[in-house]
């Protein structure tokens, strides 16, 4: 039951607003964590670990470069899915985008907590197998974890990158692997011709389309 609540929490919170909303939700917690341990503010952005986390949420095929040409750490993608995943869809850029705000506010508290949890599974998150990474995330995102909002914020990023191509000025299935996997062409500068079945498909109740 606890797990179910966490799942519903997350889906509901992220869908409408994307990563930004989740980041806002996690800010107070991050501020409290940094106040308790000021060293957290100095934790550097760890690109490879953030990529590995994104791959755990929306897994993908092995790749060297993202859609926008950024480098992918060789250990980041576990390779458990045959199609492109969130790393290839430039999740790291979203983590770093100031309009989202994950970095720098949440980076220290998130990576420090992730590191602690990963060591309990046997090593740094980046070095864990996919199943071990899933185990870390299952624990961290469980409703019983009082700090789970940090992980929800971190988890919102790959979904936003993958489903909305928010780093692309004009996202299409040619430049955005998320759109390609979804079967979504993205921008349609000339629209579509075959958009309708062009026939009546139900009885109608009103004359003008609205109720009296």
């Amino acid at each position: 039951m606890a797990h179910e609540l966490s799942r519903r929490d997350f889906i509901g919170r992220v869908g409408a607003l994307g990563a930004g909303a989740m980041v806002l939700a996690a800010l107070p917690l991050a501020e409290r964590m940094v106040a308790a341990d000021p060293a957290l503010a100095d934790v550097s952005l760890d690109d490879a670990t953030l990529q590995a986390f994104a791959d755990t949420l929306i897994p993908g095929r092995k790749a060297d470069r993202t859609d926008l040409g950024d480098e992918i750490h060789p250990l980041a993608i576990a390779g458990v899915d045959p199609e492109p995943g969130a790393v290839e869809a430039d999740s790291l850029r979203v983590y770093k985008n100031p309009l989202v705000g994950f970095s720098p506010a949440l980076v220290g508290p998130f990576l420090a907590d992730l590191s602690t949890r990963s060591l309990q599974q046997g090593g740094a998150f980046l070095t864990l197998s996919y199943d071990q990474r899933v185990a870390v995330c299952l624990q961290a995102l469980d409703f019983s974890n009082g700090d789970r909002v940090l992980y929800e914020a971190a988890a919102a990023v790959p979904f936003t990158a993958f489903c909305a191509a928010v780093e692309h000025p004009v996202g299409t299935d040619q430049n955005s692997s998320g759109y390609r996997v979804m079967g979504y062409p993205g921008a349609a500068p000339n629209g579509y011709r075959s958009f309708s079945y062009r026939r009546k498909l139900s009885a109608e109740r009103t004359k003008r389309g609205y109720l009296a």
Binding site: T56, C163, Y184, G186, L211
Partner: protein, 574 residues
Amino acid sequence: MAERVDVCIVGSGFGGSISAWRLAELYRAAGSDPASILVLERGRRFKHTDFKQSMHIDHLASIYKLIQSSGGPGTLGASGPQGCQMVTANAVGGGSNLYLAASLRAPTEIFERRDHNPADGPDRRVWPKEISRKTLNGFYGRAEHALRVNRPGWDRVSKSGGLWAATLANAGHTCDRVPLAIDPGRCAEAKWCHTGCVFGAKNTVNTNYLASAERAGVRVRPNRQVESVRRSAPNADGYRYVVSADPMDNEGENPTRRPTGTAEEIECKVLIMSAGAMGTTPILIRSQKDLPSISGQLGRHLGSNGDHVAAIEYDPKKVRDVLGLPGYADFHKGKPITTMTYDFYVGRRAHRYDGTRFNLQEIFLSSLTNFLYDDGRDPAGEPSWWGVQKKQAISSWSNRIELLAMVEDTHDGEFVAPPPQGSSLQPNAGPVEVGVFSYKPSEQSLRVRELADKAMAQIAARDGLGRFMKLTETQGVYCAHPLGGCRMAESKDLGVVDHRCEAFDNEGLFCIDSSAIPSSLGVNPSLTIAAVSERAAAGLTARAHELGLPRRPPGFKHRTPAQIVGERRVPAKI
């Protein structure tokens, strides 16, 4: 010394633009200069060609505000984003830039409703007695003409809308085509209304009311965030209110989207607040100490229009075999709204049905909502909302339709404090902000959403057509149609404005926008906001001379604003 104008309009969406045009007509007819009507708009001005078919976060930040309720009084999410998340617009033309153009008259029963939040006063009709579907019909018609509302034929219904119609028919229900404020000759069926129409096909107020008002001489000043209003000093020559506005840094590379700190003051005889439920209300709350006679109901009864979204994921083989519709993988083509059913509304006229009715509309929100719905797949040792299984669910996106239930809920939100500036707390230049309102759905609001879920699930399941995908309600409501906060009512103890949208005990102060709407509407609200605004504007022009504005000349008639489309993209013929 404040700049002086006759009329200051705060906000340029439906309410502000309709007011501007109707007053411009009056000024022209009376031989006065409409330049004394000034519209202030927080956002920047866009041509159609400035819009992008893109979810690029900078584009979203320039046109949208996504406001989540705060958990506590004025704190930055003290208990997280519980309650409600509101989508609002931020540009000249307001919400009309982003709406999906469904233009529907609200059913008769809506205006007769007596249901309301338990803490919301005595048993009564929620709307003022002067407002009914009958009294609004003429104003609905006026708005329909101005917005060029038309009803697409079945040959213009999208495949996703057609699939919804066929699904309903398969389950024994009816389904109607939805009237739209979209030019059928210019629409390219690209389904990119939600980030601004690059084709100039969507009939925003920038193509009719506001464009005509400007052509007549009304001045529109973009990039101005109104922070507060106050009463003019005594004996101010008929001027009643002073508006304080800050220029905004909205333009150029990397705008901060914050005030620049160089305040302007505008003094006016008539002040029309048209910044919407999420704009007008915080401004007036912040101004409350300087408007001591405003109703104590200010900031209460914030609603979501009963918005409730869900999805159906179809089995393409069943779509072909059961419904006889080949080739469905076309969620992304056509207009974003084309069909809806009224079967869960009609035949329930009596008050015992108040709060139980809803309408179900096929809608396309954006690709981002792909993961809004709980796919319900069995975890089988893995999480279903992330990981391998969720990846598979996301991949089937094109075989879905999205549904918007508009339910008869109660207005459950309340502003708890004014933010220091603007309408909400702004942590960065991005699109997401933290509102200073709480939102706790009432039992009725939850129950009627459950009824809608049950109906959608049953329709989807018939003959195994598809899988119903539910939106969680554990965190509240997702809303693109904020209403209320300055609601109209019979009396000051129940609301902020009267049936004419004028604030009780504050002559010359009007709230002509969504903030005045006192209940959810059962349909997309833009046309009702427009009709209520038309009615308020007609009332205002009729008694303009009492407020120090030009007298309406004999024989004066309101006319339909011209259609002025402007620069737009013309699609190649493919």
